[in-house]
């Protein structure tokens, strides 16, 4: 599983880095950023799903890796 933020949609609500601080951070203007390469460790899948489900702008995608 891999996380991706659509920066066209992100408005900096910060729900992702509040709920899943191991997976997301913010830039200097508060917009969400995926940390590292976005690959979700097995023990962090729940946090990743919470972040996706709570983004008010529907800006986060959780992609199945091929």
């Amino acid at each position: 599983m891999k996380l991706q933020i659509n920066s066209e949609l992100c408005q900096g609500h910060g729900r992702c880095y509040d709920l899943a601080p191991d997976l997301f951070g913010d830039d200097e203007e508060g917009y969400g950023q995926v940390l590292g390469d976005g690959v979700v460790p097995a023990d962090k899948e729940r946090e990743a799903q919470l972040a996706v489900a709570n983004c008010p702008e529907h800006a986060i995608e959780l992609l199945e890796e091929s």
């Binding site: 408005q11 900096g12 880095y17 913010d26 203007e29 508060g30 919470l50 709570n54 008010p56 702008e57």
Partner: protein
């Protein structure tokens, strides 16, 4: 005295503004579907049953008051309007009897909240870094200490007004500190807030005179900062540049007014509504006292269920929109509180579920105007409730009939007498 030609006092003298005035219509609403008013007491006291009813039968209500306006109550309609900055303008965001002239767009009177694209992006960018989660975390230790000092002052009292004696002071102190205004000026801020947000149906002369008081105050703060520049948002705005020039004076004072007004009764309302809920729901209160780690999740639910902020927009051109005929310059009352209680969007929409895990609420708006201060508001709300529950774990409404709510677009308790039950005694505190 430092001179900056931009801030010539004559430019800020009160005068009859250009724009469109509409007839002031007050009094009981005949039918909420065709005659709504967010300034009538029935709406202030409890808007949710009204919104639920409208969602069943309209779902976009109309009024001839305020020169004409619309009230969508479904999440999908509220979201669509928030995202559609092509057809809905932010050149005015407080629905009342005055529409500023069209040529005030895309800047508006208090950028960036009053701005439309493309100017909006640049005006907002100037402020974003001051309001990130990291930036506002610097305010957390002094905010926590201040909350404790407010509760220290309750010593010996068994009834306190949580809205008047606690909630309102927290955002006042924080925003005064960020703008670099004297902390003791808080009571004046309250007047400015009430004039701006609740004085909507006053006569124009009265309203202009009251707004002049705000701008006189802001100008005095600008002069003080020109003489004594310091590390705060006022000095930052005075020196900030856009497109290679310093900001227009009206942009500086407009942004200061925005930060002062928008930062205060919004957060005051959110803290007050949360304490009101906990005073009436002992099971939720006891659960949060036992498990403070649930507080961030509960706060999101309080924000959903008691979202304090409703915005407004103006329709740009005549159009048929989702079944209704909107006219240019019609108001849209953009109710995030109504969107947050739409059962099509939320399970158990009218229940407060403090451990709700999936909560895609719109309390801070949607799209490009997402509340600039949302990270600050969340910090203040978390610290205010955390300190309160630690110090006053048991409390109830002292007199439900004495609770009053603000009128207009920002809704929260303005009188909230709570009875404090002292820990360990099991009985009410002795006076």
């Amino acid at each position: 005295m430092a001179i900056d030609d931009r801030f010539n006092r004559e430019l800020f003298e009160a005068e009859e503004e250009e724009g469109i005035r509409s007839e002031i219509i007050t009094g009981p609403v005949s039918d909420w579907a065709t005659d709504f008013s967010h300034l009538e007491p029935e709406w202030s006291a409890d808007p949710y049953p009204i919104q639920d009813d409208l969602r069943q039968r309209c779902p976009i209500a109309h009024t001839d008051r305020f020169g004409g306006g619309w009230l969508p109550v479904r999440y999908e309609d509220v979201a669509a309007i928030a995202y559609d900055t092509e057809r809905f303008s932010s050149r005015a965001i407080i629905m009342g009897n005055f529409r500023p002239p069209r040529d005030i767009a895309p800047i508006g009177g208090s950028p960036p909240i009053s701005s439309d694209p493309p100017f909006h992006h640049d005006a907002r960018k100037l402020l974003l870094s001051a309001f990130t989660k990291m930036s506002v975390s610097k305010q957390e230790p002094p905010t926590r200490a201040f909350c404790h000092s407010l509760i220290d002052a309750f010593e010996g009292r068994d009834v306190v007004d949580a809205a008047h004696d606690y909630a309102q002071h927290i955002p006042m102190r924080v925003i005064a500190d960020m703008l670099g205004f004297p902390p003791e000026d808080g009571p004046q801020f309250r007047q400015f807030v009430e004039n701006t947000l609740e004085g909507v149906n006053l006569q124009p002369e009265e309203r202009i005179e009251r707004m002049q008081g705000l701008f006189d105050y802001l100008l005095a703060q600008v002069y003080d900062h020109l003489d004594n520049p310091r590390e705060d948002l006022t000095t930052y705005l005075i020196n900030a540049e856009l497109y290679g020039h310093k900001l227009e004076a009206s942009h500086v004072t407009g942004a200061m007014a925005l930060l002062l007004i928008a930062g205060i009764d919004t957060t005051w309302s959110a803290i007050g509504s949360s304490l009101w809920h906990l005073a009436r729901n002992p099971a939720d209160r006891e659960r949060l006292v036992a498990d403070p780690s649930l507080l961030p999740t509960a706060i999101e639910e309080f924000l959903r269920a008691y979202a304090p902020v409703t915005m407004a927009r103006l329709v740009k051109e005549d159009m048929h929109w989702r079944g209704v005929d909107m006219k240019a310059d019609d108001w849209i009352l953009l109710s995030f509180p109504a969107a947050n209680r739409d059962p099509a969007q939320f399970d158990r929409a009218n229940e407060v579920v403090i451990d709700r895990e999936v909560n895609r609420h719109a309390a801070f708006g949607l799209g490009i105007h997402r509340c600039l201060g949302s990270h600050l508001a969340r910090m203040e709300l978390r610290v205010a409730l955390d300190v309160w529950l630690e110090r006053i774990p048991e409390f109830t409404l002292a007199d439900p009939a004495a609770v009053t709510w603000s009128a207009g677009q920002i809704r929260g308790p303005r009188a909230l007498p709570l009875k404090i039950v002292r820990p360990g005694t099991g009985t009410d505190a002795a006076a």
